[in-house]
């Protein structure tokens, strides 16, 4: 349950500033690492700034969502939600410059299928990468398997993610049972769903418990439809006497709605510019990529030359 979960203990933060600080730290850590490794000819401008990282992050998150939505067989919503949460948590403590998002997003999806018990074999999974040849899919699979354990490590092995979908169902059941004033709660479902999908693309999952997100979704959609649900909170949830909690809850809901409003899809030109910068950074600064391919040194296993790997771009994903 959420109240005893690792999500509540370790992955719910108090404010946006805290999140921003963590991301800034990750960015700085990467820069320091490169400086320490003594590479010459490195200027500060060749690194990504925070807002550039944000743009790229949003872009890849969008790609992840599209990948999951186009997935065959159909991925349940909880799997999608978990994958996006892993993606978000990973890049809270690591910089995009160090781990390329296009492979991390695939690993997040793969791991999420496993954790949420959505049984997909690895070949089936990479079979969803439609632009690749089977050999290319193989290569992607190898990369996925290579980086899976570091991803889990960076998530601090906290793999259970509580998404707001089931709380939403629970709240709808409760409303139908105990709140007869609302005639048709089912009508709220569609817009609440959209609210939740939008919320996964924001930091809401890292700041608020999933039940609060679900409640905000329902209240939002009801106010959109012009129905008032204030009395649900006071009567059914027993908050009539507890003004303080009530006001705090309204406060959180307001914050959440602001977060959603602030979200904007990144512009394509910006994305391209930053992407090129990212590629350059990865080409120069990722010694770990080349080191991990241990069997080059072996000489026994003669697979095709790894240099082809870099040619694979994002377009191949969709």
């Amino acid at each position: 349950m959420f109240h005893i979960s690792s999500q509540r203990k370790y992955w719910i933060f108090k404010s946006d500033d805290e999140l921003e600080q963590l991301r800034q730290k990750a960015n700085q850590k990467f820069r320091n690492k490169i400086h320490e490794s003594g590479k010459t000819g490195v200027s500060a401008s060749s690194f990504l700034e925070r807002h550039e990282e944000d743009v790229l992050f949003k872009h890849y998150e969008r790609r992840l969502l599209d990948f999951c939505n186009a997935f065959k067989p159909v991925m349940p919503k909880s799997v999608v939600g978990t994958a996006i949460m892993y993606f978000r948590r990973f890049y809270l403590n690591n910089s995009i410059m160090e781990y390329h998002p296009r492979i991390i997003m695939l690993i997040c999806a793969y791991l999420s299928c496993k954790v949420e018990e959505f049984n997909v074999s690895s070949t089936q999974f990479v079979g969803n990468l439609l632009q690749e040849t089977p050999a290319g899919q193989e290569r992607v699979l190898e990369q996925i398997l290579e980086y899976e354990l570091p991803l889990i490590q960076q998530l601090n092995f906290h793999l259970v993610v509580h998404t707001p979908y089931r709380p939403m169902e629970g709240l709808l059941i409760d409303i139908k049972t105990r709140y007869p004033m609302l005639e048709n709660p089912e009508s709220l479902r569609k817009s609440a769903d959209d609210f939740l999908t939008q919320a996964t693309m924001t930091d809401a999952g890292l700041l608020f418990p999933p039940s609060q997100i679900a409640l905000t979704a329902i209240l939002n959609s009801s106010s959109r439809a012009g129905l008032s649900m204030e009395s649900y909170l006071t009567e059914c949830l027993g908050l009539r006497g507890d003004k303080e909690s009530l006001s705090k809850m309204y406060e959180s809901m307001r914050r959440m709605k602001t977060l959603l409003k602030k979200y904007e899809l990144p512009k394509a030109e910006e994305v391209n510019v930053y992407k090129q910068k990212l590629e350059r950074i990865h080409a120069e600064f990722s010694p770990s990529n080349k080191r991990k391919r241990g069997y080059e040194e072996d000489g026994h296993v003669a697979k095709e030359a790894r240099l082809e790997e870099e040619v694979w771009t994002d377009e191949d994903l969709m």
């Binding site: 959420f2 709380p167 169902e169 409640l215 809850m249």
Partner: protein, 311 residues
């Protein structure tokens, strides 16, 4: 298994698997032949460590590792001196400390650490506790004698039982033979027709059989329990020490949900929640599923963490 052969003649152990290894007080092994050889020449030094040895000090190796044998010997000697038992100590802690002392001494002597000091300590202990050691030795011998007596008694009883059984069998065999003989005699001499005689004989044989069966059933009453305590012997036990502690009172587990209370699983139907959940199909109920489970889980998730934390 082989212990890599005898260090002196090196080959013989492989060639002759039945050859025994002997261990001496310094912890090194020698095969039987080499022991003979060594003492024929009159010189008594160990091959590896050059400590002076006596032939009587060699014992057949019981354990694979010769150091274990060495330790066993040392332990026997030490325990001859340190023979206090747990009843000699006022508290468990002191007994354990004493045992640890003993182990330290054995360890030191086995690994040849600090041998001088350890021997001095042993002698000191011996002097101080001379009478306790004597008493315990006497106790030990007495106990051993008692045990041996019991063993002897048991053995004698077993013998006796065996003899009894044999005798019984003999008697029964004889009785049967007599019966047959009687039949033959009667057939010869008596005037009655053969069939009647045969019938009589059969009856008598049957009687004999039942007699034998009955005797087998009779269990000799015993006057001793299997642990060796005589029946009707009162055993005095020490009174059980009373331990007084705070009485445990049950407090039900309380987990903070940070949200409104969730109704109990059994109440869900009555409260009307189940009307809004998909009903369980027959295939689902076969595995033990019912719709209340899914409903309860959804409600738990919905209410968990709903209220803000009170800072």
């Amino acid at each position: 298994m082989d212990d890599q052969g005898c260090p002196r003649c090196k080959t013989t152990k492989y060639r002759n698997p039945s050859l025994k290894l002997m261990v001496n007080v310094c912890g090194h092994t020698l095969c039987e032949n080499c022991v003979e050889m060594l003492f024929v020449r009159g010189s008594g030094n160990c091959v590896q460590c050059d400590t002076p040895l006596r032939k009587s000090n060699f014992r057949v190796q019981l354990f694979e590792d010769p150091t274990v044998d060495k330790e066993v010997e040392i332990r026997k000697k030490v325990l001859k001196i340190y023979n206090k038992r747990d009843v000699d100590f006022p508290s468990l802690r002191e007994y354990n400390d004493y045992l640890e002392q003993v182990e330290d001494i054995v360890y030191n002597l086995t690994s040849n650490i600090d041998v001088e000091n350890t021997k001095l300590r042993m002698e000191q202990y011996q002097r101080e506790n001379r009478d306790v050691i004597q008493k315990n030795k006497a106790k030990l011998t007495r106990e051993q004698e008692e045990l041996e007596e019991l063993l002897l008694l048991e053995q004698r009883d077993n013998e006796q039982r065996r003899l009894d059984v044999l005798q019984e069998e003999q008697r029964q065999l004889q009785a049967k033979r007599k019966n047959k003989q009687a039949l033959l005699d009667e057939l010869e001499q008596s005037r009655l027709p053969a069939t009647i005689l045969l019938a009589q004989h059969k009856v008598r044989a049957a009687q004999l059989e039942t007699q034998i069966e009955q005797q087998k059933q009779v269990v000799k009453p015993t006057n001793i329990f299997s642990t060796g305590i005589h029946m009707r012997q009162t055993v005095s036990l020490q009174p059980v020490p009373r331990i007084e502690e705070v009485l445990y009172t049950y407090k039900p587990l309380h987990i903070e949900i940070y949200g409104p209370p969730v109704p109990e699983l059994e109440q869900l139907g009555r409260l009307g929640y189940l009307n809004h959940v998909r009903a369980a199909m027959p295939q689902d109920t076969a595995g033990g599923y019912n719709s209340a489970l899914a409903c309860h889980r959804a409600l738990q998730d919905a209410f968990s963490g709903l209220f803000p934390l009170k800072r």
